[in-house]
Symmetry: C2
Subunit: 134 residues, 2 copies
């Protein structure tokens, strides 16, 4: 498929696709004889995944590294485990951060719920019989 289809199906701007290629987040696709970029369904899936990761707060730099990890997996050779070890450490660090963020978001969630409760139940003489919480 051509770049316009890819961008439309992934819901991104055409310029963004080319930007990702420059930034090495997307591979350089094969070209037609006239120089048009030619994409596969796999490219579409990767692009959608990239947008999902971004949505979760990963930077393009991190996503580029994840992509490299993913691409290196099928050919992971026991003969040179060092880059794999480095990648492992990165992923583990990321997991720690994710757990932290989930915890933080949960706290924030509870805090916001409390704020809502407070606003919904305004203090003062409006509900005379009611005790103020806490």
């Amino acid at each position: 498929m051509r770049i316009g289809d890819l961008a439309k199906q992934a819901g991104v701007n055409i310029q963004t696709v080319r930007f990702y290629e420059r930034e090495q987040v997307l591979r350089q696709p094969p070209r037609t004889s006239s120089g048009y970029r030619s994409y596969s369904d796999l490219d579409l899936r990767r692009l959608v995944l990239i947008k999902q990761c971004q949505n979760l707060g990963f930077t393009l730099k991190e996503i580029r590294q994840f992509a490299a990890l993913h691409d290196s997996l099928p050919s992971a050779s026991p003969s040179d485990p060092k880059p794999l070890q480095a990648i492992l450490r990165m992923v583990e660090e990321r997991l720690r951060l994710i757990d932290e963020k989930i915890g933080g978001l949960r706290d924030m969630r509870a805090h916001l719920l409390e704020l809502i409760a407070q606003v919904r139940r305004p203090a003062g003489g409006e509900c005379p019989g009611r005790k103020v919480r806490r």
Copy 2:
């Protein structure tokens, strides 16, 4: 306290504090007779909270709105509930997004754990007796 202390205790750059003031994320503090900004412990707490919110992926714009919500609460007047209603809707929308993000991060977490397991247990005859998880 003066701006240098505030910045140091909150772990941010002095320029960042002034930037937040310009962006109306921090209030304009009172000044000494010579024009120095003078901050309270409350300002420090707010600054730390701002950094925490940012860490969780909120933008300065959103944080500014949260701050406005927080500041408006003590004086929440039943005489004009409309802005409060608007704020409520905003907070609820934000809650929805938080739940979504928590879900997404959890999926990502599971995915990464699986990747780690794959890398740790390379395919082939290396661990003959071992069953694959799941």
